[in-house]
């Protein structure tokens, strides 16, 4: 087993937050408690010995059933030490997750994408809107219960230019 300094440090610092450490082909995943997620991530970024300063991606996972239903996964990279770490946390269907967009600026859009695709909400996010789909889109396409092609995907749809949107709001 590859020694994982970050895991040891996390276990030491947040003994009750770390739910499990998994090792698969040299990649480490640490599952942490949802409530402590922010503190854990902040520590990982700011700790002098770890310095996970790059947030590579934030991804959502829908397990369909099971509880909690969703998982949100943070891929971290340390530019200085060239280390990678995966932090996962479980989110129930109606629960919110704390934003980390103030810790890594990159999280802003990444969290919007997770919201767009899974409908997972991030509390205190500065601008939680859909990012890839149109604003009037109904549903969250990467959820397991979303029909593969979407509903009425081939039907005509309204195309509104920006100024038309303004008119609609006024009217």
């Amino acid at each position: 087993m590859v020694r994982c300094m970050a895991c040891d440090l996390l276990k030491e610092k947040f003994p009750e937050a770390v739910r499990g450490v998994e090792e698969f082909r040299g990649e480490t995943t640490v599952t942490v408690d949802k409530g402590q997620l922010r503190a854990v991530l902040k520590f990982l970024k700011e700790s002098e010995t770890l310095l996970y300063d790059l947030l590579v991606d934030v991804a959502g996972v829908d397990s369909g059933s099971g509880s909690p239903r969703f998982k949100v996964v943070y891929l971290l990279h340390s530019m200085k030490f060239n280390h990678r770490l995966r932090i996962a946390t479980g989110v129930a269907e109606d629960a919110e997750l704390d934003t980390v967009s103030d810790i890594w600026k990159a999280a802003d859009w990444l969290e919007r994408e997770v919201y767009d695709m899974f409908g997972i909400r991030f509390s205190d996010h500065p601008d939680l809107r859909r990012i890839l789909l149109t604003d009037d889109f109904v549903g969250y396409p990467l959820r397991k219960d979303f029909p593969l092609k979407g509903v009425d995907f081939d039907k005509p749809f309204p195309v509104c230019l920006e100024e038309e949107k303004g008119n609609q709001v006024d009217a």
Partner: protein, 164 residues
């Protein structure tokens, strides 16, 4: 009377001849098909032979919109705006399966054929079509332009414009 008609007919012919040989496309590529469109303007395929090499960066100076690639529903308003900004007369080539019908992307995010939003003159099938396909599409469009009698081509106004 007869003289006037003949004169008008030949004037129309001259106009059509000029229009069909200077179809300037707007620079507008959306996905993989756009690369084939770019190749069409290279020395090998040389779209300049048909008077359509002047890809205009501004829709205000363009006659033809080659919708080359996948049109997402998020992109649809921009596409429509560029189309509206082009002066009349204007033509549209739906280049590739994606632009013609949504192609392989039968999904919630992709417009299933650009003719859902703007009127299309020529469809070029293929994924992607070879540059020769675009040239053939362009020639078909030129034939269509040459056939256009005066006054046939209506000003295309999009629904909300006419509704006021």
């Amino acid at each position: 009377m007869g003289v006037a008609n003949t004169a008008e007919a030949s004037l129309q012919e001259v106009i059509n001849w000029a229009r069909k040989n200077s179809v300037w496309p707007v620079t507008f590529g959306l996905a993989c098909c756009a690369l084939e469109m770019m190749v069409a303007s290279s020395a090998t395929y040389d779209i300049a032979r048909f008077g359509a090499e002047v890809f205009r960066p501004s829709p205000r100076q363009a006659d033809l919109m080659i919708v080359a690639g996948t049109v997402t529903k998020k992109m649809a308003p921009m596409l429509k705006r560029i189309y509206e900004q082009m002066p009349e007369p204007k033509w549209v080539i739906a280049y590739g399966s994606c632009a013609s019908s949504g192609g392989i992307f039968q999904t919630y995010g992709v417009v299933q054929g650009v003719d859902q939003i703007i009127p299309v003159d020529v469809y070029v099938p293929g994924c992607p079509p070879r540059p020769e396909g675009l040239l053939k599409g362009l020639i078909s469009l030129q034939e269509k332009i040459a056939r256009e009698p005066s006054g046939m081509r209506k000003i295309v106004s999009l629904p909300w414009r006419s509704n006021g």
